[in-house]
């Protein structure tokens, strides 16, 4: 019982820490096998959306398909950027590149084959999405329901200002 109380105490303490965290600095390979440092791909004050997804995750693909429909228009308006990080492991990672091209996604796609980035981000499930500005995580969200991309874009606009 003592242990459970300690557990609860640590948990509640951790909750008092809720605020902005830095984006984990982990280099990931892109689908051509080159190492990419995420913070080097964005400009100052540019809003960056990172979506963790997998080829076997139906809601993840629904979300990225849905955003793709508006991506060009939204980018013109707010100059944000989306990086789709696949958490596919060795079983399905070879499927990422043909899927991305087959679907004509215009996102930059990176591979997190042993979930190092997912773990560092403390994401539990996919889809998991974070909004980053000047290397600080300002918003995070898990799950996707049809239409929630509209709510996401409202959030992006709010943060872009």
């Amino acid at each position: 019982m003592k242990k459970i109380i300690l557990f609860a105490l640590i948990l509640s303490y951790s909750y008092t820490l809720l605020s902005q965290t830095s984006l984990p600095s982990i280099e990931l390979k892109n689908i051509d096998g080159e190492y990419i440092k995420i913070e080097n791909t964005v400009e100052k004050d540019q809003v960056l959306v990172i979506s963790l997804w997998a080829t076997w995750c139906v809601p993840c693909i629904n979300e990225l398909d849905a955003i793709q429909e508006y991506y060009e228009d939204w980018q013109e308006e707010t100059n944000f950027k989306l990086i789709a990080i696949s958490i596919d492991n060795a079983r399905t990672t070879s499927r990422v590149k043909p899927l991305v091209n087959g679907k004509e996604w215009e996102y930059e796609v990176l591979l997190d084959v042993n979930q190092d980035f997912k773990r560092a981000l403390n994401a539990n499930t996919v889809p998991y999405l974070v909004i980053v500005k000047n290397n600080k995580i300002v918003y995070s969200h898990s799950g996707y329901t049809p239409g929630s991309e509209i709510e996401l874009y409202e959030k992006i606009k709010e943060i872009a200002q």
Partner: protein, 557 residues
């Protein structure tokens, strides 16, 4: 014969408090917030069921809890994962996890531009994982993190080197075997300043060191494995090739390590693809021979997937629907003579993705997305000498057929409000060889999923599935209704029913709801789970049928 180390309980407790204190002081000194973490809790309350039987084990209520906290300051980071299985871990988790609360993982890391040093627990994968992968999957009850030290060194941006030493986690204990590993990755295209193509070369070596009691005198305790890899990508075309060699190791039969029966292992993987906007093709050929690799030899083939050194997923489509997950292929890397001779597997998988453009006849107003998948897997063609426990195999010989499936998936948006996913699967599953039981299964599966959007916040998803087969448990149907009231609240009901089975017809029904706010999600479920293989990411474990309530909570901070 168990040789696992056990730490005294109070020692771990002190360690937890110490690390927690260190973390908090750390936080107090740092200028900005540099602490993050997550909390996951999965609880079950098991009920008796007049259809599938009473719950006959200890503790109807069981709960798995994970609290992970990471902190960083300048170049240092530190972290812990506390795990609590109170009063006991959920059904079919390895008993090595049964502990009310314990320190699961801890690490200290120092990182600069070129150097990255970790002490404590770490996860690592060399190449595709064929000779080394340590990872965690809470749903499957796998955490084979290495405990020890690791150094990553990147002298230039073209060269990545890793050296590591450690023992794998086995629940709250450590494996008896030691692991020594080295990995290198060199970007030849950067080195030779190639503009239009990428060429990467990789080499890894892993040594597993474990004494075996009463071994024959000439037996060596080290087993070495080597992997060489080459990735080439140029324009629309890419190729990856990997060859793995595992030195002679003892044959293991039902936890018996036979140091006088030795065999070598090897693996060969070739993957190639072509992709451009609107079209992607990917094909993989893989051959595995005697590639089981465990930290502790005696654990070879254990049902909980504990202490596995390498990662050998089945290369088949990973399904998201319930009826597609009844006959799931599992990779067959193991050498065995009993009950049937098996030395490995050989086969291929092909994927094609195609986008029918908007405004064309088949594409319609919104375009249509096609995904085709085909895979076929055979045992190695080999002659087995069952008395002497030896065999000889052909490199390109196809033996018994284990599995084959063909899948077509069509994603179609009909209007602003309606969209559908249509899936058809034809499969063959050799139960006798894959599960080492009896029978073969030929089945067809058809699935229609449609989503109706009432508004940008509210939607309804309906799923109908049917599986036709004359074999095993005969025909099934399944359906799901999911109502998303808002991005925060959703409810669902599902049922699957093997109505074709004359012996035992059972409805596997589930009802539940979830509430999501930002990155916090709470889900409550009541229902009856189908027993059988639970597969996540190509790794499967057998779970019993069970009925009851489940509560899942997860959050990040």
């Amino acid at each position: 014969m168990k040789k696992l180390k056990k730490l005294p309980n109070n020692f771990t407790m002190k360690k937890i408090i110490l690390i927690a204190l260190a973390l908090f002081t750390f936080q107090a000194y740092s200028q900005e917030k540099n602490i993050s973490g997550s909390f996951i809790s999965n609880s079950q309350y098991y009920l008796d069921d007049n259809k599938t039987g009473d719950f006959n084990e200890d503790n109807r209520f069981r709960s798995n809890n994970y609290l992970k906290i990471d902190g960083n300051y300048n170049n240092f980071s530190i972290g812990i994962q506390l795990e609590g299985y109170a009063p006991q871990a959920i059904l079919n988790y390895s008993p090595t996890f049964n502990k009310e609360i314990g320190l699961g993982n801890y690490y200290l890391n120092y990182k600069t531009k070129k150097l990255d040093i970790t002490a404590g627990h770490f996860y690592e994968q060399f190449g595709n994982g064929l000779i080394l992968r340590s990872w965690e999957d809470k749903e499957l009850g796998i955490n084979n993190a290495l405990v020890g030290g690791r150094i990553n060194y990147s002298p230039t941006k073209e060269i990545y080197l890793t050296a590591l030493y450690g023992k794998q986690r086995a629940g709250f204990k450590l494996s008896d075997g030691e692991i020594l590993g080295f990995n290198s990755e060199i970007s030849l295209s950067d080195l030779f300043k190639l503009q239009k193509s990428t060429i990467n070369f990789g080499f890894s070596a892993v040594s597993r060191i474990q004494e075996v009691e009463n071994s024959v005198p000439e037996f060596t305790k080290n087993t070495n494995a080597y992997s060489g890899r080459l990735n080439i990508s140029s324009g629309n075309i890419y190729s990856n090739i990997e060859y793995v060699l595992k030195n002679e190791d003892a044959l293991v039969e039902f936890q018996n390590v036979k140091t006088d029966k030795l065999a070598e292992g090897n693996a060969f993987v070739f993957n190639t693809g072509y992709s451009k906007k609107g079209l992607g093709i990917d094909a993989t050929f893989r051959r595995l021979e005697n590639m089981n690799f465990f930290s502790d030899r005696e654990q070879d083939g254990n049902v909980y997937n504990q202490q596995v050194v390498n990662y050998i997923p089945s290369l088949t489509k990973q399904h998201d629907y319930s009826l597609s997950n009844i006959y799931v292929y599992q990779a067959q890397p193991k050498l065995s003579f009993n009950p049937i001779g098996k030395a490995g597997e050989i086969g291929t998988q092909i994927d094609i993705y195609y986008n029918l453009k908007k405004g064309t006849l088949l594409g319609g107003k919104y375009g249509t997305k096609l995904a085709l998948n085909y895979s076929t897997w055979y045992g190695l063609k080999a002659n087995y000498d069952l008395v002497n426990r030896t065999y000889s195999s052909d490199f390109l010989g196809f033996g018994k057929k284990y599995f084959t499936d063909a899948n077509i998936e069509i994603r179609k948006k009909w209007s602003k409000k309606w969209s559908s996913i249509i899936t058809y699967t034809n499969l063959y599953y050799n139960k006798r060889y894959v599960e080492e039981t009896v029978g073969e299964v030929n089945a067809n599966i058809f699935i229609l999923e449609s989503t109706y959007k009432f508004s940008n916040k509210k939607s309804l998803r309906i799923e109908g599935q049917h599986l036709w087969t004359q074999d095993d448990k005969k025909n099934w149907w399944a359906s799901t209704v999911e109502l998303n009231l808002s991005p925060k609240v959703s409810f669902y009901a599902t049922d699957m029913y093997n109505y074709g089975n004359e012996l035992k017809k059972i409805h596997y029904y589930n009802f539940g709801g979830s509430y999501t706010k930002n990155n916090t999600r709470i889900a409550l479920n009541y229902g009856r789970q189908r027993g059988g293989l639970l597969c996540v990411g190509g790794v499967c474990r057998v779970v019993p049928e069970s009925t009851g309530f489940s509560l899942a909570l997860n959050t990040s901070f």
